[in-house]
Amino acid sequence: MMKRIRAGIIGCGMISKMFHVPAMTHIPEIKLEAFSDVNGEWANELANRYSAPYSFTDYNEMIGKIDMVVVATPNALHTKISKVFLDAGVHVLCEKPMGINVEECEDVLKKETESNALFMVGHSRRFASNAMLLKEFHEKGMFGEIKSMELVMGHSHTQWITRSGFSFKKELSGGGVLIDQGIHLIDLLIWFSPGQIAVTSSVGKDILGHGMEDHAEIEFSLSNGGKATIKTSRIEEWDNLCTLEGTKGWAKFHIDDKSFLKICSENLRGCRKLRHLQVKTGLNNIYLDQIKYFVNCINKNVSPMTSAGSAVKGIRLLKECYDKMSIIK
């Protein structure tokens, strides 16, 4: 008989309600066991809806009742909660960002190495079908060495309103659009270009007057002499088309909403006659694929690709972006 993983959710806000929990119900190996939120009503609501036996206002009470936890609280609490559960030997899937400062994230990294449990950060954009295929092609050397990357993500804050409203409270969010949406782009940049990356310029715009950037443009230099740019906004809805250019070809892909991959490579016989190929990759449920992947890692006891070690790199780069950022009002 299949051994089921008892799972818990900490933080019963929008992301849990809309994505994590529905995705988990599609995985037969997972048994939804407990929900926790400081707002007991929210925890009860989800526990009743998904027939989970437990709901708590204190996440510490979950220990001993679950094998795996999804941490989907405001950003400032991610590291503290993750450490508690790693100590208790519970596998942790932590929402992005891993934390709001480097020191706390390094503590989690230390805990992860000491613990038998696995830790993964939910950098869900890696699981988009076009991003996965692009990574596969890139690893086959289709584009050669990356010389330029432009990553774009602009979603209006009115399209995604958190239940707690934490994203506009700096002490809870740790920053503005860069830590919220930009962290996805930073993660993709590290994923595709794993060498040394340095921030060359960082500009933020505080448009809504919360003392945080609502629009950010960051330029990076890559270890091979290449350049990368990240543009993110929570004011405007953009056509989030990203570009990757290498020594042997290029690729264009949508970061979300639309799923395709345009590729051109001197290694591809199809590109010798046709200018480029447009692969229709299809929109997939990235949260479902992410949780499937994590369960697979647990079953095989292998470290996930967005483990603490990989995610800390992103947080270090994020800190460098903030350190060098000049805010324009």
């Binding site: 016989r269 199809g270 010798r272 006659k273 046709l274 190929l277 692969v279 229709k280």
Partner: protein, 326 residues
């Protein structure tokens, strides 16, 4: 200027050996360290004498020739499933399993391989492209010279149609001109050989009658090879729909092809003009009705879901101008 070899081969194995030597001397059979992929025409279960499928003895001769030049070369023979038979069935019944065992080649069913859907703006369906065509391969197409009721003639371009891994390939038939052009672009054969020793005339590509022509045609550009094949079979290449489409897309000068070898002219029997025109009309009606149906579906959905103003945005500007004028 593209070069095409066109040879009369009345003397069996010896003639084939000379023909392959000539291909090699032209530098068209130099795969280097790449793995070699051979696509014979195995569109149905039929005898070699029917002229419908590739003669396995030629495939064997080609494999032996390649091995004699480069003993370590890796050779794969590919085919895909269709609605009435599997590639494995075809390989087994047409003797390719024995050939694979004896000559040390691999048989690949493309339907069972991973593929990616390629979107083409001119075609309403994606073309699934097998991952083998994303690898560094040397691709050899071995087609038969046949008439085709939709296209007048079928040779190298149409042989690539068997590389589509879908079981139901028929959905592409109304868009054959575009599909054949883009498939040729995606697969881009390194060597295109057309076996016309026993060709097929009349109501091809399956129900025609075999005609002994004893000829072999080859080149390293499929468009020039197919152009020469159309001429040899007695068709004006400009009046062959898929060739006309390819010429228009590539601005290809079809009169500027150097034909090395024998000057051969046949006049293949074909279905009556009235029937061919009727088939083309049927294709036109199918395509038009598909366009209208798909557009109507899109507009009605938008109208219901987003309302009138948002729907007006997806109406082409030219149509909107006319509406405003009236």
């Amino acid at each position: 200027m593209d070069k095409v070899i066109c040879r009369k081969i009345p003397d069996g194995d010896e003639g084939i050996k000379r023909f392959l030597d000539e291909i090699f001397a032209n530098g068209w059979l130099d795969p280097g360290s790449k793995q070699i992929v051979i696509k014979p025409n195995l569109c149905t279960l039929a005898s070699v004498e029917s002229g419908i499928i590739t003669d396995i003895s030629f495939v064997r001769a080609l494999v032996r020739f390649i091995k004699s030049k480069s003993p370590s070369s890796q050779i794969k023979i590919i085919e895909s499933d269709s609605f009435d038979r599997t590639a494995e069935e075809v390989f087994e019944k047409l003797g390719y399993c024995d050939l694979a065992r004896e000559e040390g080649v691999d048989l690949i069913n493309l339907t069972k391989m991973r593929s990616i859907p390629i979107a083409i703006s001119e075609i309403p369906y994606e073309i699934n492209l097998s991952f083998i065509f994303l690898e560094d391969i040397f691709y050899i197409s071995i087609a038969n010279l046949k008439t085709h009721d939709y296209q007048k003639v079928t040779c190298g371009f149409k042989n690539q149609f068997g590389c589509i891994p879908d079981v139901l390939k028929e959905r592409y038939h109304p868009y054959l001109d575009e599909v054949l052009y883009y498939l040729d672009g995606l697969i881009n054969p390194d060597l295109s050989i057309v076996d016309g020793r026993i060709a097929l005339e009349g109501n091809g590509p399956v129900d025609g009658e075999p005609i002994k022509c004893d000829l072999m045609i080859a080149g390293n550009r499929s468009l020039s090879v197919d152009t020469v094949c159309a001429r040899v079979a007695g068709f004006d290449p400009v009046r062959v729909p898929y060739l006309r489409y390819a010429y228009s897309k590539t601005k290809y000068n079809h009169s500027n092809i150097q034909v090395a070898g024998d000057k051969l002219d046949f006049n293949f029997k074909f279905i009556p003009d009235k029937l061919f025109n009727g088939i083309r009309l049927k294709i036109f009606v199918t395509r038009t009705s598909n366009v209208i149906t798909n557009y109507a579906k899109k507009v009605l959905f938008h109208l219901y879901y987003y309302g009138f103003i948002a729907t007006a945005r997806i109406v082409p500007k030219s149509v909107m101008k006319k509406i405003r004028k009236t």
